[in-house]
């Protein structure tokens, strides 16, 4: 086993080779300053290998035991990655706080007998050592977290933690090194069917220049018409928070947030959206954000450029009237 050092990033596979969120984590890890090693859970194809090998990293590792990967077996994944981490002995293990990482990152931590700092938004260092920033109470407060004890610290990082485009490139291509582990073959405990998409996605919110988004504050399906009128006047698409889609007031394909679409329009108008973390990660990249909400302490105001604290059922009709009286 090597000396405990550096940062290990475990990237996630995606249709495009490596998920964008994983690349953000690599960029973040590079900025952290410690030597970065990247582990790909399998054997990359040629284009993915090219992408990985262009990165400025200390080492690029693969995990051939996880091939073929046509059906994702999270038991095998957890078992293999635990062995890789143990043999690489890093100070930090960084993963994207993705849907799959929510399943397997705690299990990695449990088997390594270490803590997992999940959905982290910053890692910093002072005279007392590293500290980690997390959002509590759905983003209404932040917390500074310290880790006491030995062993690596596992951290999952929130989407938007770094810029995928700013991954530093290396002067020479790093060689791909297979991580030498032995995996005991075991029958899968869970049988999985092929992934599918619920909706046909005939609404592509990512292409809209203006989005009018509604949250639970809209109160009922009938009131959606009010938001629709504003959207029509602005040439905007309607979007929604998860709560609105769960209630069935708008279809799931209009959902913005960690379980829906990630958007970055020129203008995002949030009506009656409180701004839970899961929603903010999907829209905080908008150029201009307008928030209209009754509750002055709603976290949506933290990311807003323009804030109107008031009842949307008074403000939106006034807005519609102002637009019609031109």
């Amino acid at each position: 086993m090597s000396d405990m050092h550096g940062t290990l990033v475990i990237v996630e596979r995606a249709a495009e080779g490596v998920s964008r969120h994983s690349l953000e984590v690599v960029a973040f890890a590079q900025a952290l300053g410690d030597p970065v090693r990247v582990l790909f859970p399998g054997i990359p194809d040629q284009s993915t290998a090219d992408l990985l090998q262009a990165m400025h990293v200390e080492a690029l590792l693969t995990c051939p035991e996880l091939e073929p990967c046509d059906v994702y077996d999270d038991d095998a994944y957890v078992e293999a990655i635990v062995r890789c981490i143990a043999s690489l002995n890093p100070l930090h293990v960084l993963l994207p706080h993705s849907y799959t990482a929510r399943d397997h990152a705690p299990r990695l931590a449990a088997r390594l007998k270490v803590t997992l700092v999940s959905d982290c938004i910053a890692i910093e260092h002072d005279e007392k050592g590293f500290f980690y920033t997390r959002q509590l109470f759905q983003g209404r407060t932040h917390a500074r977290v310290r880790v006491a004890g030995e062993g690596p610290v596992l951290v999952t990082l929130q989407a938007g933690i770094g810029r995928a485009e700013s991954v530093a490139r290396g002067a020479v291509a790093a060689p791909l090194t297979p991580c030498a582990i032995e995996l005991v073959a075991r029958a899968a405990r869970v049988s999985a069917e092929a992934p599918f998409r619920e909706s046909a996605r005939n609404v592509d919110l990512t292409r809209a220049r203006i989005l009018v988004a509604v949250g639970r504050g809209i109160k009922s399906a009938e009131n959606i018409a009010l938001a629709q009128r504003l959207a029509d006047l602005l040439g905007a698409e309607l979007a929604a928070s998860r709560a609105v889609c769960d209630e069935g007031w708008l279809p799931i394909e209009r959902q913005v947030g960690s379980s829906g679409q990630t958007v970055a329009p020129a203008l995002y108008i949030a009506l009656g959206i409180s701004g839970a973390v899961q929603h903010l990660v999907g829209m905080k990249g908008a150029d201009t954000i307008v928030a209209i909400n009754k509750d002055a302490s709603a976290p949506i105001f933290d990311v807003a450029d323009y804030a109107i604290v008031g009842d949307l059922f008074e403000v939106v009709p006034a807005l519609i009237q102002a637009l019609e009286n031109t």
Binding site: Y99, T100, R102, D103, H104, A105, P106, R107, A110, V114, T115, L116, S118, F131, L136, F137, G139, R140, T141, H142, A143, R144, V145, R146, V147, A148, G151, R189, V190, S191, A192, E193, A194, P195, F196, R197, E198, S199, R201, L234, G235, R242, D246, I252, S259, T262, L267, V290, S297, D302, V303, D305, Y306, A307, I308, G310, D311, V315, L319, T326
Partner: protein
């Protein structure tokens, strides 16, 4: 079918938050509490399976004395019994310790299915269900958005994946599922249920930790974040605020 549901009492997501900066936590005396939203959906999922297949629903919660309120509410909705793992400073525990303490209780119970909410609306680690599965050595299905349990021998669940993708999985019990909010409409406790709940048992136990963790995390400080953006507040009557917005963003004729 014997089903356990883990529920957490969290600060009300609508109420004001008063911080005790030195203690790294809330001023609890000034805080309203409620059942964590995702856990209400987990409870409803458990009650619905019990209604269909028979058996019992056991609710378990870790926390200080105030936690009895959410356990009593779960009993009023129809859970058969409750276990309260009593811990005054539960917010100081590492996620692994929380799971260990719940596992110590559930290991003795011989449950076939354990349901947890996906994540809590207070600290939001989103780890309890997955860690519990590891503690018990059971398989996990995470982020369940639809659930079909037609017989006690097979669980069929739809996992939510990234960006609108889903996947159906099947497995035999025992297993742990983490439940996504919106999977069902939680029932209300009726007057009859509330009266019945008074006679149902809440067993109080001390937490037991397996130990052996190499490191653990603790909150050093809690604070309101600085606003990253300069937010301009548009004041006045709705018509005034609306007019300012239209002028500032040059909204006329944007389409």
């Amino acid at each position: 079918m014997k089903i356990a549901v883990c529920i957490k009492q969290v600060a009300s997501t609508n109420g004001p938050l008063q911080l005790d900066v030195g203690a790294g936590w809330l001023r609890e005396a000034d805080t309203a509490f409620e059942t964590n939203a995702a856990d209400s959906h987990a409870l409803e999922a458990g009650l619905a399976i019990r209604d269909r297949l028979g058996g019992e629903v056991l609710v378990v919660s870790l926390g200080p004395d105030r936690v009895t309120a959410v356990l009593r509410d779960a009993l009023a909705k129809g859970a058969e019994r409750a276990i309260h793992v009593v811990r005054e400073d539960a917010h100081k525990l590492d996620p692994a310790q929380v799971a260990e303490a719940l596992a110590a209780v559930l290991r003795e119970e011989g449950c076939e299915l354990i349901l947890c909410g996906l994540q809590s609306d207070d600290v939001g680690h989103g780890q309890t269900g997955a860690l519990l599965a590891e503690c018990l050595g059971w398989p996990l299905v995470g982020i369940v958005a639809a659930l079909e349990v037609e017989t006690p021998h097979k669980v069929r669940a739809r996992r939510e994946l990234e960006a609108g993708w889903s996947q159906w999985v099947e497995l035999p019990p025992p297993c742990v599922l983490t439940i996504q909010s919106g999977i069902n409409k939680p029932r209300y406790a009726g007057m009859k249920g509330m009266l019945a709940a008074k006679k149902k048992p809440i067993t109080r136990v001390e937490p037991q930790f397996a130990g052996g963790m190499r490191n653990q995390q603790v909150i050093e400080q809690i604070y309101f974040p600085h606003r990253a953006k300069q937010t301009r507040l548009l004041e006045g009557a709705p018509a005034d605020a609306a007019a300012q917005l239209v002028a500032l963003l040059n909204l006329r004729g944007v389409q």
